[in-house]
Assembly symmetry: C2
Homo-oligomer: 328 residues x 2
């Protein structure tokens, strides 16, 4: 079977690609475990070192470009992981860019997916940024999305398009509202949530890190390891396991900035934690404070999705997965 | 001030136009009552007999065409009533048509509205078709939209776009989730809800009417008179009166088909009611049964929106407003 990952050059896209290539196939729409024959990654940029595998093709292009999508989503495409997006901070700073990539891009991708020989499984990376504003202290599966960013709005619209096109039988969609992913490797990015990884990653690598939000700021988080597991689990579940919304809030854990730093202290020591300083940034705080920090996710748990056990495990997994030599 | 009505050639659009022309102006964004200087109606079709008024311009065109929108929404536009849509039954039968008009059309209209000299007030006719599927017996202001039609999906997406663009200060939007409008004058249309007016209108005019749904089917309804009042009230309210979603479920009354016919009997007599026969249609029943029949609307009531007192008044208002000579 042929699989496409949009945003395939990004950190999560590549991690998903590596896992798929190493894995014993995927569950096809008929329920049978099927071998991966081709994996196409679409992204604007790819790193220099890509996995070497005859099944792998990396294609540079714009996810909002119809001709590019036509080249990538050929009729034999069985599954699409749609991860490409302009991140929250960037979509807020440049409304037109966010609309073009996050809204038109998703729309065009789904239009193209609909032309496949069989309705493909489409796993969509939505976000907890679907929620915002005046929220209950603990959100649950019945909480109505009220995004307070353009990024969150564009993600929610993607969910509704996917639900409707699944109902019509054009695609077999599944949307996952991702918690903030911690610890992201690599460089800080334009996501307003970038700090949540930065205050752990930078100190572990011997680099100073500025935290733009207060120590009591709560973050609803999930590790890269668990989110990749979630993408694959979401893909392999039968269509009948999904509600008509085709959308699920992924489980996560609520950890404050202070608790993250305590975890860092336990795992790596005081000398590492001392590399973090607090430098409040109103713009970031304004976006982050609209995100929910605490959710109950009984639906996802019943469907078999799992959160990380605790922040210490999240930090240790990062060190192990990314082969980090902790600088003390 | 210049006002635009999309769908201005339709029944509600024209009724709104006549009311605006007769009215002592509208509340402008600075809160001052301002005279109507120009009223542009955009629609694909207009009736032969249009109101005669120097301020009125009727423009034939497609609401999803960017060039047409550019002609209609000139920078001096102060307010837009966006009523144009492909109705539920038609959007369900022709997915592409619904996406083009209801989704792309709304998107382009908002993009154009954003280019006005001042952020225009945009009143959007959304729908109770935002809700569907497995619903609580009584919906309220916290119920999450779960549309089970493409029409409903497209309306919900319009609401989210309007909320986000209002948050960004590009427009000053207000979305109203309309109940089923009863009694619509004129001919049956492709809306799945067409019967709800037909079983009252046709018999009053001496014509037989087939009811495609069961007698115990409940309908959440609002009269044309009240919906026009609601559009104007929604327009004139200050931006601060609106929640961040910029969306409100309009008040209505729950009336079963049997209760409609009892009302018809009280107002017009048994000979009129006898013109209705039941001819179940699975396709219509399947759409209508996904719509909610009972809502609590405390937010709208607190904002000053009002429902009709009862079905008898709704029928009598139709007879009076449309100058009907009841055929007994």
């Amino acid at each position: 079977m042929k699989v496409v990952i949009t945003g395939g050059g990004g950190f999560l896209g590549l991690k998903l690609a590596r896992t798929l290539l190493a894995r014993d196939g995927l569950t096809a729409s008929d329920g049978a475990k099927t071998a991966l024959s081709k994996l196409v990654l679409l992204d604007a940029v790819f790193p220099d070192h890509m996995p070497s595998d005859a099944r792998l093709e990396a294609l540079r292009g714009d996810v909002s470009d119809a001709a590019t999508l036509e080249r990538v989503l050929t009729p034999d495409t069985a599954s699409v992981f749609h991860l490409a997006a302009v991140v929250s901070g960037a979509a807020e700073a440049d409304f037109d860019l966010g609309e073009r990539v996050n809204l038109d891009g998703t729309r065009r991708l789904l239009e193209r997916a609909r032309r496949c020989a069989r309705p493909p499984r489409v796993v969509f990376a939505s976000s907890v940024a679907a929620f915002g504003g005046t929220l209950p202290p603990v959100l649950d599966d019945s909480t109505t999305p009220t995004p307070q960013t353009s990024y969150g709005t564009q993600k929610v619209i993607g969910e509704y398009l996917i639900a409707d096109m699944s109902r019509k039988g054009f695609i077999d969609g599944r949307s996952l509202r991702l918690p903030t992913i911690v610890v992201r490797p690599g460089k800080p990015n334009a996501a307003a949530s970038s700090f949540a990884s930065g205050i752990l990653r930078e100190p572990l690598n011997g680099v100073a890190s500025a935290c733009p939000v207060a120590a009591d700021t709560g973050v609803w988080l999930l590790s890269p390891k668990r989110v990749i597991e979630s993408f694959l689990h979401a893909h392999d579940l039968a269509a009948s396991a999904w509600p008509s919304t085709r959308t699920v809030n992924l489980p996560g854990i609520t950890v404050s900035v202070a608790e993250m730093l305590e975890g860092l202290r336990r795992v790596a020591g005081e000398s590492v934690v001392r590399r973090v300083r607090f430098e409040p940034e109103a713009r970031i705080q304004a976006i982050v404070k609209t995100w929910p920090a605490r959710l109950k996710t009984p639906r996802a748990l019943a469907m078999g999705f799992r959160a990380d056990p605790d922040i210490d495990t999240v930090i240790r997994d990062y060190i192990a997965d990314e082969n980090i030599s902790v600088v003390r």
